[in-house]
């Protein structure tokens, strides 16, 4: 496992504090995945849940964790194999039926809302806004750029 530098840890700690809405220097279990993502990681919800010890829905909402307990979890996620930009493009190419660099927006919507770690409709709307052309197609290379430009 690669170690984080002292500076990096300070950065993480500060960001962790941003998500503490209660003021007890902790965050809720159900925020952990998002904080990791904000810090540059890319875990699935399932992976995070496993690291948290497979808590039930109640625990996810109510249990809290402090930074010292969070940091090793972050390290564990950091050590996982990460996807690359190309993986992402390939993932979308799967849906490129005509091999012309575009996917059908409608198809993407259905896939994202019914498969895998399902996305809600508002999530999908936020994702797709401005991406579909007048035929409802999405040019996925620019789509990828859009997602990665944050």
């Amino acid at each position: 496992m690669a170690e984080f530098s002292a500076d990096q840890i300070e950065d993480f700690k500060e960001a962790f504090g941003l998500f503490d809405r209660v003021g007890d220097s902790k965050v809720a279990f159900n925020q952990v995945a998002d904080i990791m993502r904000a810090l540059g990681q890319n875990p699935t919800n399932k992976a995070v849940k496993k690291i948290l010890g497979d808590p039930n829905a109640d625990d996810m909402a109510n249990k809290r964790i402090d930074f010292d307990a969070f940091l090793p979890m972050l390290k564990e996620v950091d050590a996982m194999p990460k996807g690359t930009v190309d993986d992402y493009v390939e993932g979308l190419r799967v849906f490129d039926k005509e091999g012309n660099g575009t996917v059908m927006g409608a198809e993407l919507r259905i896939v994202l809302s019914t498969l895998g770690e399902k996305m809600s409709e508002p999530e999908i709307d936020a994702l797709m806004t401005g991406q579909e052309d007048e035929n409802g197609s999405v040019n996925y290379e620019s789509f990828v750029k859009h997602i990665l430009s944050v």
């Binding site: 500076d7 300070e10 950065d11 500060e14 960001a15 504090g17 941003l18 998500f19 209660v22 003021g23 007890d24 995945a33 998002d34 904080i35 990791m36 993502r37 904000a38 990681q41 890319n42 875990p43 699935t44 919800n45 996807g83 993986d87 992402y88 390939e90 993932g91 979308l92 799967v94 849906f95 039926k97 005509e98 091999g99 012309n100 059908m104 409608a106 198809e107 993407l108 259905i110 896939v111 994202l112 019914t114 498969l115 895998g116 770690e117 399902k118 996305m119 999530e123 936020a126 994702l127 806004t129 401005g130 859009h146 997602i147 990665l148 430009s149 944050v150």
Partner: protein, 750 residues
């Protein structure tokens, strides 16, 4: 796995349906006309699943990172906003300081300042005023609404049309409207009791802050106020936004039209001293050049006459800010609310009888500097002086009989050491003992009992300024400089004490326009959408029916016809926040550089990230995630440390600054807003000009109050330089323009 395969199968079913074909679940293409030559097979279920998960992961990461930026941006705006509110006290104490010292420099006495700040005994009777307003003539060319009193629905509709068409209501009608409103409000109690009988739903709106578009949107969505559609507007109608005057005109018109169904609570911005800083005073003076002062004077009275609280069905309490552990609705009902003209005008302290002699004046003059130095060295958010017990008053020698008997807050800053432990919200003086400056030493005396006036003032300030917090307890609201932070236990106690079940308040901007806390017992409702920046937040209003179950309605005013994407909104808000931060850095440049250089022992021009963050936080006194913000504010040197001079790179003077000492220029940048306010007050005839002598005196006073060392020669030189046409008067707008900063990136884009 079986479940997934079933899902994938049905996915392909749906896909086939989209393609307009049959409902075969086979994975082969079903007659889709394929433009491509090659075989276009559907991917295997496993691959599809993998692709979906990958996209979802990446999307969630994208959103999380946007969310982090949004939170940072939000923190920046809020910190700067509240820091501004703290600074407001400095201005207020400066006015007090000016009042005391002006008599010495200008034999005529502090006419203007006191005119604006003190409650003047009005020479006119009510009837006399009414007649006076009626005599104001309205020109034939005026195309705006002409009101007749008592108002009719036609008048109200005309007003709505007029504001939509951007027509300014003539000063005569404004004065008449305000006069009638004042008469009406005088007979209202401090706490209004309403009922939702007759199955009526009451709509409660929060802060509007001069955003007319939001008010119009609410009326559009929810209907105009009427007997069937009652409203409560929970304070902060003015300041910050550009249409505060229009909002109060509309609100007051409906108030007079439907007195039983339209209710206005006072907010902390219904306060003439807050208005001086946050834009309402300026807006009025710009829109009403001749009658502006009269209008402001009348507004001062109207604001102080607004009711403090509303209670619905004896179950729901509606106040602007919040409560404290000593809030008492019964006591509140008995106070003389109009006496609390401003939360920033501290009540006369009972020490005014104390004879301190000339020593006080000398002591006070010295206090100017420790006050400001004390501020600089303090850690974030500790607000001295505001709640601390006032020590000496100015009524000492006979020559100052006309000056205020207010206690200057700047004195008390010496009394209060850093308070790390929360203390109850009564008159905080940690040792329970007053320190009073007497010649060169400090005399300790036991604090007298708070007067009735002080108790009333505190009750009102708590109601208008407090914020809820998560932890139990009640602590002074040091962030804002007034009121308390109240915990769930305080809420619980108050609700139980008065048999209530819900507290609805406003005062804090919330991203969704509303927020529920304290286990459902406190609702915050905020009605100014895009408060910090385009896209920063929604506005909301809440409706309560006889069941008293709240229903929330959200909205967002959007200037652009095309909806901004989430990312665009975050970008816009973030850009704005960062600019504000960069200006702050620039305005504190010399302090920051001094501190940076202390850490930079070898004079390399760079320091560690941690040190950089620490310096910036302690100098600017803004509690922000500086490490996270650093990449947007400063560059790294090749070795990974921060090149600290780079944080000043993107901001530069808008115009070549007259040759003055750096200290002077920086002070001007920092206090530009305050100076604007002061100059506007001094400019009696709204000509935009003040005399050189006035400028000199003001500047000297301001500096001595701040504790900034500027010698007289520099002041004179400055005055000479900016008197561009050498006629002895200064166009202060031009002067202030010279001290506006520009952002280099903006310039590049032009």
């Amino acid at each position: 796995m079986l479940l997934n395969e079933t899902r994938i199968a049905s996915y392909f079913q749906i896909q086939a349906m989209i393609m307009g074909c049959g409902t075969s679940i086979e994975t082969e293409n079903q007659g889709k006309p394929s433009a491509a030559d090659g075989p276009s097979k559907n991917p295997s279920p496993a691959l599809t699943m993998k692709a979906a998960i990958l996209i979802q992961r990446w999307y969630r990461r994208y959103i999380a990172q946007l969310e982090m930026r949004r939170r940072c941006t939000w923190n920046i705006f809020q910190s700067i906003e509240y820091a501004g509110e703290q600074d407001q006290l400095q201005l207020s104490s400066f006015f007090t300081f000016m009042l005391d010292n002006f008599t010495h420099l200008n034999g005529n006495g502090p006419d203007l300042i006191s005119h604006l700040l003190d409650s003047v005994v009005e020479p006119w009777t009510e009837e006399g005023r009414q007649a006076k307003y009626e005599q104001i003539s309205v020109p034939e060319s005026y195309t705006g609404p002409r009101l007749t009193f008592p108002l009719s629905t036609t008048d109200a509709n005309n007003l709505l049309t007029a504001v939509k068409e951007q027509k300014t209501l003539h000063a005569r009608y404004v004065l008449q409207l305000l006069h009638e409103t004042k008469k009406f409000l005088k007979q209202m109690p401090n706490v209004i009791y309403l009922s939702t009988a007759y199955a009526k739903e009451i709509t409660i709106c929060g802060d509007l802050h001069g955003r007319l578009d939001d008010l119009l949107l609410i009326f559009y969505k929810n209907g105009l106020p009427s007997a069937e559609n009652p409203y409560i507007f929970n304070g902060d109608f003015v300041d910050r936004g550009k249409k505060s005057m229009e909002i109060v005109i509309i609100l007051f018109a409906f108030l007079l039209l439907y007195p039983d169904h339209m209710h206005l609570n006072r907010g902390n911005h219904e306060d003439h001293i807050m208005n001086l800083r946050y834009g309402f005073t300026k807006e009025v003076m710009q829109k009403y050049k001749t009658h502006g002062r009269d209008i402001l004077k009348l507004l001062q009275d109207v604001f102080s006459l607004l009711p403090i609280a509303t209670v619905i069905d004896n179950k729901v309490l509606v106040v602007h800010g919040g409560i404290s552990d000593r809030t008492d609705l019964d006591f509140l009902s008995t106070i003389e609310r109009y006496k609390v003209k401003s939360a920033l005008r501290l009540p006369r302290c009972s020490l005014e009888q104390l004879e301190l002699g000339a020593g006080t004046r000398q002591g006070r003059a010295q206090l100017g500097s420790p006050y400001s130095q004390g501020r600089a060295s303090r850690s974030t958010r500790k607000r001295k002086g505001y709640l601390a017990r006032q020590s000496s008053c100015s009524s000492t020698s006979s020559s100052s009989s006309s000056s205020s008997s207010l206690c200057s807050p700047c004195i008390s800053s010496l009394n209060t050491p850093r308070r790390n432990t929360p203390s109850p919200c009564n008159l905080p003086s940690p040792s329970g003992v007053l320190q009073v400056p007497f010649l060169d030493s400090f005399v300790s005396i036991a604090p007298p009992e708070p007067t009735r006036e002080e108790l009333e003032w505190r009750q009102v300030v708590d109601i208008l300024w407090s914020d809820p917090k998560i932890q139990n307890g009640c602590t002074p609201n040091t962030f804002r400089g007034g009121g308390c932070y109240f915990g769930p236990d305080v809420t619980q106690n108050l609700l139980e004490k008065h048999g209530l079940k819900l507290l609805i308040r406003s005062h804090e901007c919330k991203q969704e326009g509303y927020e529920i806390c304290h286990d459902g017992q406190v609702i915050t409702i905020f009605s100014a959408s895009n408060y910090y920046e385009e896209g920063s937040n929604r506005g909301a209003y809440v409706k309560l029916g006889p069941g008293l179950v709240p229903r929330f309605f959200q909205y967002q005013v959007s200037r652009s016809t095309r909806k901004l994407t989430l990312q665009q909104r975050v970008n816009v808000a973030e850009g704005s926040a960062l600019k504000a931060l960069q200006e702050k850095l620039y305005a504190h440049r010399s302090e920051l550089m001094t501190a940076f250089q202390q850490y930079d022992e070898n004079n390399t021009g760079s320091i560690s990230i941690g040190d950089w963050a620490q310096v910036v936080e302690s100098v600017l006194r803004l509690d922000l995630p500086w490490r996270t913000l650093r990449p947007r504010l400063a560059r790294l040197a090749p070795d990974g440390s921060v090149d600290y001079e780079s944080c000043f790179e993107d901001v530069s003077p808008g115009q070549p600054v007259p040759q003055v000492t750096p200290n002077f220029a920086e002070t001007l940048y920092r206090y530009r807003t305050d100076l604007e306010i002061i100059f506007n007050i001094m400019d009696k005839d709204n000509s935009g000009l003040i005399s050189i002598e006035e400028f000199r005196q003001t500047w000297r006073l301001f500096n001595s109050h701040l504790g900034v060392d500027v010698d007289d020669h520099a002041i004179d030189e400055m005055a000479r330089i900016i008197d561009f046409n050498k006629d002895g008067s200064i166009d202060f707008n031009e002067f202030l323009e010279a001290f506006r900063v520009v952002h280099k990136l903006d310039v590049k884009e032009q």
